[in-house]
Amino acid sequence: MLSKRIIPCLDVRDGRLTKGIKFKENVDIGDPVQAARAYYEQGADEIVFYDITASAEARAIMLDVVKRVAETIFIPFSVGGGIRTVDDMRQVILAGAEKVSVNSEAVKNPGVIRDGARAFGSQCIVLGMDVKKVLASREIPSGYEMVIHGGRTFTGLDALRWAKEAERLGAGEICLNSIDADGTRDGYELDLTALISSHVGIPVIASGGAGKPEHLLDVLTRGKADAALIASMVHYRTHTIPEIKNFLHDHGVKTRLQW
C-alpha cells in the first residue's frame, strides 16, 4: 500500500528561500539547497520548489539551485514558477528535477501540458491549480474557480472541469492550492480537495492552510488527498516532519517512517 506523501514547499526568490504569507509579505529564510538537504534528512517524501520571480536572470540562478539540489538529495523533487514552454521544462529536468509544475501558463496555453507529457512522460508534468471558492453558476458549476497571478486574476474557468481537462491532456499529478486557505494555518480546504481528488484518476497533492498535524490527517482522510504540501508549519519549526508522520501513523494513515 502506498504511503501518503508529506511534501515541504520551498518558495525561492533570486536563489534564496522565502515563505509567502498570504502571497505578499515574504520573509527570507535562507539557502534552498541547505533547506532541501535538511528536509531530506528529516524524512520528506518529496520536495516542491516554487520560483517566485522567474525573470530571465532569476531563471539561470534557479537552474543552478536545481543542479545543486539534485546532487544533494536522493528523493524526487519538482520545480514550478514561470515554466511556459517545453524548452523551459527541458532545462529544469536536465538540471535534475523529476517533475515540473505548470500553473498560470497552462491556463493560458493548455497545449503545454500535452506537449510536455509527450516529450517527458506524464509522470513529469504536475498541474498547479490556484482555486477560489465562488458562488456556483452556470459558468462555474462546481463553485470553485481557477485564479492566476497569485489569486489576483479570475479566469472564468471551473476548477473541476479544468482538472479533468488537464488529466485528459496528460498531466500526471495535480497540486491543488486553495487561495482562500493559503496562509491561514486554519486547515486545508477539505471539500475542494475531496471534490477534485474523487473526480480524477491521477494523484492530488493538497496545498494551502496547513498549520498543525491534525490538518494533514483531515486532508489525507476526509479530503481524499494522496499527498499534503506543508510550508510555514515546518519552516518556522512549529512542527517537524517526523512529528507529523508519527502523528499520522498513530491515527491510522500509512506514512513512510523509515528513511
Binding site: M1, L2, S3, R5, Y40, D45, A70, E71, F74, I75, P76, I93, L94, G96, E98, F120, G121, S122, Q123, G172, E173, G201, I202, P203, D226, A227, R256, L257, Q258, W259
Partner: protein
C-alpha cells in the same frame, strides 16, 4: 567503472548523481565498446516501452544487453529498463528483449484496496518484500520503502525469477533476480538511504546470487 546505458529513455543523470554521492565512478554512454569495458552495467529509463525498444534496436544496444547478461557482467535494470528485459509489454503491445520470460502488464483500471479506488500510475513510496539473502538487497531495513512511478508491472512467467513483491491493490513483482542480473521496478536513485544501500551493494557485487 559503472556504465549507465544511454538509449534516450529519459534523464539518466539522477542515477549518475546517486553513484557519485557513493564515490562510485560512472559514465553515461551509448557507446557499446565503452560499456564492454565497464565492470557493471546499469540499465535505467523512464517513458514508453515502444519508443525505448525502437531506440535500443536502432542503436544496436539490444544485442549488447543480451550479451552482457549472458557473459556474467553484473547488470541492474531500473523501472523501464526492467520492463523491456521481459518478453513483451502490454504498453503499445511491444515485443521486448526476452531476457526474462514473462509479460509486463497494465494495472487493472478498477484497482481497489478495500473501499478505496486506487489511482494509476502507482506513484509514491511503497514497501518491497525482498528475497532473503541476496547480496544486492543486503542491509536494507525490513520496513524500508522505495519510490515508484509506473502504470505497468512485471509479471515473470516463472516465479523463481521474482526477488521482491509489492502490494498495490494486487501483489506484483517489483524486483527480479537471477545469476548476474537484478532488475527493479522502483527507483533506487530516488529512494533515499535504502535506495543508496541497494546501489552501493550492486556496485560492489561480483554477480553471483549465492550469498
Amino acid at each position: 567503472m559503472i556504465g549507465i546505458v544511454d538509449y534516450r529513455a529519459g534523464n539518466l543523470t539522477s542515477v549518475a548523481r546517486a553513484l557519485e554521492s557513493l564515490n562510485e565512478p560512472c559514465m553515461i554512454t551509448n557507446d557499446s565498446r565503452l560499456l564492454d569495458d565497464a565492470s557493471h552495467i546499469i540499465f535505467p529509463g523512464v517513458g514508453a516501452a515502444g519508443a525505448a525498444m525502437a531506440n535500443l534496436r536502432e542503436s544496436g544496444l539490444d544485442g549488447h544487453l543480451k550479451k552482457w547478461v549472458q557473459n556474467g557482467k553484473p547488470v541492474l535494470g531500473i523501472c523501464l529498463g526492467t520492463q523491456v528485459i521481459f518478453d513483451r509489454s502490454e504498453e503499445d503491445d511491444t515485443p521486448c528483449l526476452g531476457i526474462v520470460p514473462g509479460v509486463v502488464k497494465r494495472f487493472p483500471a478498477d484497482l481497489r484496496e478495500g473501499e478505496q479506488r486506487l489511482k494509476i500510475p502507482h506513484m509514491g513510496w511503497n514497501r518491497v518484500a525482498f528475497r532473503k539473502n541476496h547480496p544486492v538487497f543486503a542491509g536494507i531495513p525490513e520496513d524500508a520503502e522505495f519510490y515508484f512511478v509506473h502504470s505497468y508491472y512485471p509479471a515473470p512467467a516463472d516465479e523463481t525469477w521474482a526477488a521482491g513483491w509489492t502490494d498495490y491493490g494486487i501483489r506484483f513483482c517489483s524486483a527480479v533476480a537471477r545469476g548476474n542480473l537484478v532488475a527493479v521496478q522502483f527507483h533506487p536513485e530516488k529512494s533515499g538511504r535504502p535506495g543508496l544501500i541497494l546501489l552501493a551493494n550492486f556496485c560492489r557485487w561480483g554477480g553471483s546470487d549465492a550469498q
